[in-house]
C-alpha cells in the first residue's frame, strides 16, 4: 500500500508539473485514488512540490470533500439544507443509516461506504437529494435510500444507480444523470438558442475597447450577488498594469437554494464559454478558468468535451477565428466542498492551490488577482448575458428589464411551491408575480437571496426583484404558513458556522454565539433582553467581518428580527422569579453530583 502510495503520488505530482499552485488538483486526485490524503501522503506531496507538509495539511483540512482519514470507497452525502430537510432529508438519512447499520458521519466496518451530511448541493428543486461519490441521486425517499444501499452492497458502482435519465443534456452520454432541468420559464436572454461562434466573431470585428463599451452600454451588472457593473470591472482589469491577465468564471454556486448555474452549464455551456472568451479578448487575457464546485463534478466530462469541440472549431486556442494575437484557452478548476470559495478572492486562493481563505483587499482582483495577474471574476449567468449582448447588441438587451436593472434574471425557486425550478424573468417583476408563476400564491415567507439574503414577509410581496429593491443572486426559498422562521434562521446559522473560513474573529466566533442565543429563545428560555443582545451581536458580526460571508451571515437573525418580530416576541418572557431562565441548576450541578455520588439539596426545585 505504502509503496503503491509513493508511486501514485509521484505520478500525480509529475502529471501536474510539480506545480504547487496545482495543489488542489493533486490532493483531489490522491483523495480519489486512496479515499483520503493521509499524513504519509501529505509528506510525499510536500516533498514532490517543494512545500512544507503543514501547508498540504492546511489545504486538505480546509475542504469538506478532502480528508486525512480514510473514507469508504463510496461516500454518500445527503444534502441537509433547509429545503431538503423540509422534504424529508432527515428521514432519508436515517433510512440510509439504518440500512448501512451505522450513523451519519460513520463508515461501515468493512470500510466500503461512508454516510455524511453535506450543505446544499444545488438540487433543491428535486429534493431530497444526495451525492453518491460524484453521482447525483434525487427525489429520494426512505425506500429508494434502502434500495441504493442494497445495490451498492452488490457492486459499489454509483453510476449504476442511475436508471432514468433526466431531460436535455442530463441524458448526454458524458453526463448520464437523473437530474432534471426544471426550466419552468425560459426567457429571451440565457435560454435563447445559441449560434456557436456568432458572438465571438462579432466581438472580434470590434476593438477590445469597443467590446467593453458595448457591455457598458448594455448596463449589465453582475448576476452573482454583488451586482457590480460588468463593463466597468473589465475596464479596470484591462487598465491594470501586468503582462498577463486572467478570466475566471465563478461556477461555485454554493448559496443554498440556488441551482440556476447548474442548468445554464447543462443546457447553454457554449454561451458561458463564449462569454469568457469575449471577456478574455476585451481585457487582453490568454487564460480562462472555470471554477466548478465539487458538487457539480458530474458535469465535468461533458464540459471538457464542449471545450474540446470549441478548440476544434478554433473558438478557443491560438489565433481564435483567425484573429492574430488573440490566444485564449480555458481550464476547469474543480472545487472540493467549500461555500466560501464562491467569494471571488477565496476562489482565487483555491485556484492557486491554497486554502480557500479570502484575501485582503486592496489589491482587488482587477489589480492583482490569480497569481497576482489582473483578473476578472464573473458569474456564470453574467457571462451568459455577455454572449447575448454581443449577438443582438446592447440596445436589445436594454429593452428587457427595468430602468435601473437591464436584462433578465434567472431565479431558482424551491420550497413550498407547486413548480420548483428555474425561471428566467425580466428584472422589475414583483415577488407576487414570481410566486404565482411558481405556484406559491399562499406563501407565508420567502428567503430572497439565500441565507445571506433576507427573509421577506407577506406584507412585502409587492416589492420587485431588481438591483434597487430586492437584489438577489437568484435563490428564492418559499415557506408556507406551517414553517417556523426561527428554526429556518437557526438552520442558516448552522450553515454559516460550518462554512466560515475561520480567518476573522467576528465571523468565526460571532455566528456560534448567535446560534447559542437563538437556541435559548427556541427552547422557550428567552428573555426580552436577548433580542437586544442578538441585534447588537448581529450588527457586530456584520460590521466587523472581513468578507461578504461574515458581513451577511447575521442576516437570518437581523432580517427576521425586523420582519418577523412578533414570532420572537411570542417566545420571550420576562423572568418573574428573578432567576435567569437559561440557568438550569440541575444541569449545572449534575457533574458534581456524579463526583460526590449524591443528590444536591437546593431550593427552588
Amino acid at each position: 500500500m505504502s509503496e503503491n502510495l509513493g508511486a501514485a503520488v509521484k505520478e500525480i505530482c509529475r502529471a501536474h508539473g510539480h506545480d504547487r499552485t496545482r495543489l488542489m488538483d493533486i490532493v483531489r486526485a490522491v483523495q480519489e485514488q486512496f479515499g483520503c490524503v493521509s499524513g504519509e501522503a501529505m509528506e510525499l506531496i510536500a516533498k514532490a512540490v517543494s512545500v512544507h507538509r503543514v501547508e498540504v495539511d492546511s489545504v486538505v483540512s480546509f475542504y469538506a470533500f478532502l480528508s486525512d482519514r480514510p473514507k469508504g470507497k463510496v461516500v454518500i452525502r445527503v444534502c441537509d439544507d433547509i429545503i431538503n430537510r423540509m422534504h424529508g432529508a432527515d428521514r432519508v438519512a436515517q433510512a440510509f443509516a439504518d440500512e448501512l447499520g451505522i450513523e451519519v458521519g460513520q463508515t461501515t466496518p468493512d470500510g466500503t461506504i461512508t454516510l455524511e451530511y453535506t450543505p446544499c448541493i444545488g438540487m433543491c428543486d428535486q429534493a431530497p437529494a444526495a451525492l453518491v461519490n460524484d453521482v447525483v441521486v434525487t427525489d429520494l425517499h426512505r425506500t429508494t435510500a434502502r434500495q441504493i444501499v442494497q445495490e451498492l452492497r452488490r457492486h459499489l458502482d454509483p453510476r449504476r444507480l442511475v436508471r432514468k435519465l433526466g431531460d436535455g443534456n442530463n441524458a448526454h452520454e458524458l453526463v448520464q444523470a437523473m437530474v432534471v432541468n426544471n426550466i419552468r420559464k425560459p426567457g429571451p436572454v440565457i435560454f435563447s438558442p445559441v449560434n456557436r461562434g456568432e458572438a465571438i466573431k462579432k466581438a472580434l470585428a470590434m476593438s477590445p475597447v469597443e467590446v467593453i463599451r458595448a457591455v457598458k452600454t448594455s448596463r449589465l451588472r453582475g448576476r452573482g450577488g454583488a451586482g457590480f457593473p460588468t463593463g466597468m470591472k473589465w475596464e479596470f482589469t484591462r487598465g491594470a498594469p501586468g503582462t498577463k491577465r486572467c478570466v475566471i468564471c465563478n461556477a461555485d454556486e454554493g448559496e443554498p437554494g440556488t441551482f440556476k448555474d447548474r442548468v445554464i452549464l447543462t443546457e447553454r455551456p457554449d454561451r458561458v464559454f463564449a462569454g469568457m472568451t469575449i471577456a478574455g479578448y476585451a481585457i487582453g487575457a490568454d487564460e480562462g478558468i472555470l471554477y466548478l464546485r465539487g458538487e457539480y463534478a458530474y458535469l465535468r466530462a461533458f464540459l471538457e468535451d464542449v471545450l474540446q469541440k470549441r478548440r476544434d472549431e478554433n473558438l478557443l486556442g491560438n489565433k481564435i477565428c483567425g484573429k492574430e494575437d488573440f490566444n485564449f484557452d480555458i481550464r476547469i478548476q474543480m472545487g472540493a466542498g467549500a461555500y466560501i470559495c464562491g467569494e471571488e478572492t477565496a476562489l482565487i486562493s483555491s485556484c492557486e492551490g491554497l486554502r480557500g481563505d479570502p484575501k485582503n483587499r486592496p489589491p482587488f482582483p482587477a489589480q492583482k488577482g490569480y497569481l497576482e495577474h489582473p483578473t476578472v471574476v464573473n458569474n456564470v449567468e453574467t457571462l451568459g448575458c455577455v454572449t447575448k449582448i454581443l449577438e443582438d447588441g446592447p440596445a436589445t438587451f436594454n429593452e428587457y428589464g427595468s430602468e435601473g436593472s437591464s436584462g433578465t434574471k434567472l431565479l431558482s425557486i424551491s420550497g413550498d411551491c407547486r413548480s420548483p425550478g428555474v425561471f428566467e424573468v425580466p428584472f422589475g417583476i414583483t415577488l407576487n408575480e414570481v410566486l404565482r408563476l411558481a405556484g406559491a400564491g399562499d406563501a407565508y415567507a420567502v428567503q430572497v437571496g439565500g441565507p445571506s439574503g433576507q427573509m421577506v414577509s407577506r406584507d412585502e410581496f409587492g416589492r420587485s426583484i431588481c438591483y434597487d429593491d430586492l437584489a438577489t443572486g437568484g435563490s428564492l426559498m418559499v415557506f408556507g404558513l406551517d414553517r417556523n422562521v426561527l428554526e429556518i434562521a437557526d438552520a442558516f446559522l448552522d450553515f454559516f458556522i460550518e462554512e466560515s473560513c475561520g480567518y476573522c474573529t467576528p465571523c468565526r466566533v460571532g455566528n456560534v454565539l448567535l446560534k447559542e442565543r437563538l437556541g435559548k429563545i427556541l427552547a422557550g428560555k428567552g428573555e426580552p433582553s436577548d433580542l437586544k443582545y442578538l441585534q447588537e451581536l448581529g450588527e457586530t458580526v456584520k460590521l466587523m467581518s472581513r468578507c461578504g460571508l461574515g458581513q451577511t451571515s447575521a442576516n437570518p437573525i437581523l432580517t427576521t428580527l425586523k420582519n418577523f418580530r412578533s414570532v420572537y416576541d411570542a417566545l420571550v418572557k420576562e423572568a418573574t422569579d428573578g432567576l435567569q431562565p437559561s440557568f438550569d441548576i440541575h444541569a449545572a450541578m449534575s457533574e458534581s453530583e456524579k463526583i460526590t455520588g449524591r443528590k444536591s439539596v437546593h431550593f427552588l426545585a
Binding site: 503543514v54 473560513c501 475561520g502 466566533v509 454565539l513 460590521l543 472581513r546
Partner: protein, 240 residues
C-alpha cells in the same frame, strides 16, 4: 504622486506617506489604533478585526487599508470601541483564558487591550472548548487554550525565520494552529531564538522555565495601558 498624503482621524488632520496603512500613519502621528494580529515587521493579516475603523463611513481594517488623500477616519469613538470590546469578548470566550495564573499576565496584549477598553468580564457565555497543550519540545510549549488565531507565529516563522513551522489547519470554529510535523513541536526545527516565539501576543507560545520571572509591578502593562508608548511618541515596546 505627492510626498505626503493628508487625511483626517477623529477630527485631527494628519499626514502620512504614500504606501502607508492607516494604522502605520496614525502611529507615526502618535495616534494609537488598537490591534492584535498586527505586529511590526510582519505582513499585515487583517484577521482579528480589532483595528477596524470607519473610512468615510465604511468599516475597514486599519492594518491593511492604505491611506488616501482626504479620507475621513473614525477611530477612537464610543461606537468603534464598543465594537472592539465585542471582538475582544469573543476572543476571551472562544478559548480558555485564565489570566490569574497565566505566565503571560501583565505582558499579554489581549489582557492589556481588555483593560484599556474597560472590560472586566466578557458579556458572552464561555464556550469552554477542549484544546491541546503541546509540551513535547524541551524549551518551548504551545498552549492552544490561549491561542487567539492571530497568525503572528505563522508569519514570523515563515517570513522572518524562514522555517514555516506553523500553519492554520481546519476551517471555521475548527480552525487551529498546527506544526510542521506529524504531531509534535519537538519534531520541528524551532529554536529558542526564533522570532516566532517572540511574536505570540498571548500565552499560547511560551518559553519554558522563565514564567513569572518578572515581578508584578515591572511587567509591560502594569503601569500604563497598552498603546501609551505610541501616544507619547516613544517606539512601541510591545513590538520588540
Amino acid at each position: 504622486m505627492s510626498a505626503t498624503i493628508d487625511f483626517i482621524i477623529d477630527d485631527k488632520e494628519i499626514q502620512g506617506r504614500p504606501g502607508q496603512t492607516i494604522l502605520e500613519a496614525a502611529q507615526q502621528n502618535g495616534i494609537y489604533i488598537p490591534r492584535l494580529c498586527y505586529r511590526e515587521g510582519l505582513v499585515p493579516h487583517g484577521s482579528c478585526r480589532i483595528c477596524t475603523v470607519l473610512v468615510n463611513g465604511r468599516p475597514q481594517s486599519a492594518c491593511t487599508q492604505p491611506i488616501a488623500p482626504g479620507m475621513i477616519v473614525e477611530n477612537d469613538t464610543e461606537k468603534m470601541n464598543g465594537l472592539r470590546r465585542n471582538i475582544i469578548d469573543m476572543l476571551f470566550v472562544e478559548g480558555n483564558h485564565f489570566c490569574m495564573f497565566c505566565e503571560k499576565s501583565g505582558n499579554c496584549e489581549l489582557q492589556a487591550l481588555a483593560y484599556r477598553l474597560g472590560i472586566t468580564a466578557p458579556k458572552y457565555p464561555y464556550m469552554f472548548p477542549k484544546r491541546d497543550v503541546d509540551a513535547t519540545h524541551p524549551d518551548i510549549f504551545i498552549d492552544r487554550n490561549r491561542c487567539i488565531l492571530c497568525g503572528r507565529c505563522v508569519r514570523a516563522s515563515r517570513d522572518v525565520d524562514g522555517k514555516h513551522i506553523f500553519e492554520f489547519v481546519g476551517r471555521g470554529p475548527h480552525k487551529r494552529v498546527e506544526v510542521n510535523a506529524e504531531a509534535n513541536l519537538a519534531d520541528t526545527d524551532i529554536s529558542m531564538t526564533d522570532e516566532a516565539v517572540e511574536a505570540c501576543p498571548v500565552g499560547a507560545l511560551l518559553k519554558k522555565r522563565v514564567g513569572y520571572a518578572v515581578p508584578i509591578g515591572q511587567r509591560l502593562y502594569d503601569h500604563k495601558p497598552i498603546g501609551s508608548d505610541i501616544e507619547s511618541g516613544v517606539a512601541p515596546a510591545s513590538s520588540r
